[in-house]
């Protein structure tokens, strides 16, 4: 009898390990990842031989959806560090040295966070890369914090969106979600 029970538990173990094996295959994320370059559309321009500027920056982020929820002041709480994305921490890579908020930043990879408020956001550039969300955010690893003003827009953007735009001096990282938009100025 004992043998049978042992045998049966072994079977059960095998079944459950098979189950675990199957779930190793990564499913498609609910908040899909995306990337944006400056110059905008750099990869396409590169293969078309139409580049007029050298590579400056790239952001890799995941795109949560509004899905009927109130975003700012509710899902994204005012005054708290927000991961500015989903899943893997939002990464910004500078391919040349830049200045943000008056501070010189060496080229390289950084993680972006934000503290949203109703009229302004604090954008945080942090040294800790290859991490997950803002769950282990460490202020000591901040490179710069800078305030940007919030612009209300006349529509509701379903998916968190980021893109780079040319500015009078350098370029800006535009971040939009729901009915809100901010621009982070980046200069050379």
């Amino acid at each position: 009898m004992k043998k049978i029970i042992v045998l049966l538990s072994v079977f059960q173990l095998i079944f459950f390990s098979l189950l675990a094996q199957n779930s190793n295959i990564p499913p498609v994320d609910k908040s899909p990842m995306d990337m944006a370059y400056y110059p905008a559309n750099y990869p396409v321009l590169k293969i078309q031989d139409k580049l007029t500027e050298t590579l400056a920056a790239r952001v890799v982020y995941s795109r949560p959806q509004k899905a009927g929820r109130t975003i700012f002041g509710s899902l994204v709480k005012y005054g708290e560090v927000w991961r500015l994305g989903a899943n893997e921490a939002t990464e910004i890579e500078f391919f040349k040295n830049v200045k943000i908020g008056g501070k010189k930043i060496n080229k390289g990879r950084y993680t972006l966070y934000a503290i949203a408020n109703e009229n302004s956001w604090t954008i945080i550039v942090n040294k800790e890369t290859d991490t997950w969300g803002s769950f282990k955010y460490d202020k000591a690893k901040d490179v710069v914090r800078t305030e940007v003003s919030v612009q209300k827009i006349n529509m509701s953007i379903e998916s968190l969106s980021m893109l780079f735009e040319k500015a009078t001096s350098g370029y800006s990282l535009i971040i939009g979600w729901d009915n809100v938009k901010v621009a982070l100025p980046i200069t050379f």
Binding site: L8, F11, F15, N22, P26, M35, E88, W132, K136
Partner: protein, 208 residues
């Protein structure tokens, strides 16, 4: 005694059925019978979402999660960033790909592999850094090409910038994967990059 045996037998059956049901749920998701993401078809003046969503995979497996849960301080060894086209009712080599023609192993931006430290693949030393990956599929084998033309779009790879080519066998699987899938799997010594789509799967082993 018989009654106990019967109960135990029934419990095994229940477990196996339950298991089957869970497995088939996973397979259905993969098949796209129940799409796991709600497509965002709304107007977006900034940047519309992609039909083939991007994804990322690290080695060590789940490195970012390990970092926050276990405080891993050792840097990762490799990372892949790729976009995930889906079958959408099509069959891989009937409608989508052709044998002996370069395939971008993804969609949109070229599939990128980043080695945080030097790697060895099929005895060849690969220096730490970013590369793009593409594939030349054949019926029995795939040639995986490591190329220097980073930050480019996946179409029309510039073969003059090839760094190395690796031939690996391709095997068939029992169930079809709806979305093209790449991920690192831990091996005893190093890792393998698993590439799977539809009924096909290929694995590129590497060590660090």
């Amino acid at each position: 005694m018989k009654a106990i045996l019967l109960i135990l037998f029934a419990s095994v059956l229940a477990v196996s059925c339950n298991n089957e049901k869970k497995n088939s749920t996973i397979t259905d998701e993969q098949k796209g019978d129940s799409v796991t993401i709600k497509p965002d078809n709304s107007i977006n003046p900034f940047d519309p979402t992609d039909v083939s969503p991007m994804d990322m995979s690290y080695f060590p497996v789940d490195y970012p999660q390990l970092k926050i849960s276990k405080g891993t301080t050792e840097p990762p060894k490799a990372r892949i960033i790729y976009s995930r086209p889906h079958l959408g009712g099509r069959r891989l080599f009937q409608n989508l790909l052709s044998y002996n023609e370069p395939w971008r192993l993804g969609a949109n931006e070229a599939t990128e592999i980043d080695f945080y430290k030097d790697a060895t693949i099929q005895g060849k030393k690969i220096k730490a850094g970013r590369y793009i990956l593409y594939c030349i599929p054949e019926k029995e084998k795939w040639t995986i090409v490591l190329n220097n033309n980073i930050d480019s779009w996946g179409l029309h790879p510039d073969t003059s910038q090839d760094i190395a080519r690796f031939q690996i066998p391709v095997t068939t699987t029992t169930s079809s994967l709806e979305y093209f899938t790449m991920y690192f799997k831990q091996l005893n010594a190093g890792a393998e990059l698993v590439m799977a789509w539809d009924y096909l799967e290929a694995r590129l082993p590497m060590s660090f």
